[in-house]
Symmetry: none
Subunit: 249 residues, 2 copies
Amino acid sequence: MLHKFRIVLVNTSHPGNIGGAARAMKTMGLSRLVLVQPEIFPSEIADARASGATDLLQSAQVVNSLDEALVGCQLVLGTSARERHIPWPLLEPRAAAERCGACTQQGGEVALVFGREHAGLTNEELQRCHIHIHIPSDPNFASLNLAAAVQVLAYELRLVALSAEKDSVAPVHTPDPDTQPVTADELEQFYQHLEQTLIDIRFLDPERPRHLMARLRRLYGRADIERLEMNILRGILTETRKIARQSIT
Amino acid sequence: MLHKFRIVLVNTSHPGNIGGAARAMKTMGLSRLVLVQPEIFPSEIADARASGATDLLQSAQVVNSLDEALVGCQLVLGTSARERHIPWPLLEPRAAAERCGACTQQGGEVALVFGREHAGLTNEELQRCHIHIHIPSDPNFASLNLAAAVQVLAYELRLVALSAEKDSVAPVHTPDPDTQPVTADELEQFYQHLEQTLIDIRFLDPERPRHLMARLRRLYGRADIERLEMNILRGILTETRKIARQSIT
């Protein structure tokens, strides 16, 4: 199960934290590290902090955007220290890890996304996540070191994986493609299609978007949309846009 | 409860790890740090890694022996990476934290003891501990960073403390009407509105409905739609029907 998890670090400033995260991952049996625009990488400082986990740094994937980092993922979770305007599905690490385990047991891939050392993830990045994770830190001093946050989550993922192993009297299970959850990139395409449609029917004013798309992302992100359902939703949007083009404006 | 726990670091080599441990403690609401013969302390490197938790370093108690560090404790737990010759009560972090919580609720004080970066605790030191804790790391790469190990244990202690708090205080909770789930009849009205709209845009043929509405009910039924979200969805349907009426057929 553990190879289905990837750890995504966005825009990390300090290479020491990348090394520390790699070490934290390897102690918990995780191996897939994705770095979105790290400020300094590769780096001797990262290698030193990784101490026997430099192999994870060597095989780390370095990409230019969060989108690239998430290709192929069914479930995306983002860590968040702050309270947000728009309430979002928010889980503590333990419940989040259970959710991750359930997803991988259905064959899905999961990304855990960690933001910048000081600023965390942007609102836009957080909205790409289906679920936010909050490590229940002391409100008076909530700033976990990045590698420490990775350690806590990796630890919870490992516990879930170990417990699943223990339970596994392997069910023979051929997944039905129609009922497979869609991937994060398919979901993203749907949101773009939805947004364009709402503009076409003049429900969404691009000049004054308010939080409309964020709220819809939150709703649909919660629903674990399956492939066949996605086809239906996309079909409705296509028909709606067709009708909108024919309308007398 | 958290002030009853002390973290004891024995013979730490790298001052950065002392700083990292202080930061890990403070994020989880722990404050009492005891250092047994640290190699280098105080240190600017420790201060830098503590970032914001230097108060814990300033109030840290520096002592010459493990005995001194444990004065006043009812329960002593020691972290251990290796399998030992002598079988000893061994718990994983979660069970260990519960045991710690139970002890403090009876008024006891608890010490968690962490050994040297490379060599851990000596057999003699481990025998001073009532219970050994093993973080379930990958047997192929078991070497957690010292501060990372402190983070995992401090996190588990905090969860136990928060859960004890929750049990003792009734939550005062005023629900936000916007985030209340909709009622079954509101959901039913939505489905009728949706069905009518799909007919209007000619996506749904009432003569050949197939299982379209059933599938959509299943999808939206899963999403636990909140009131504000429902208002948005109904708004979209209303606009879509308006556009459909204006369209050239």
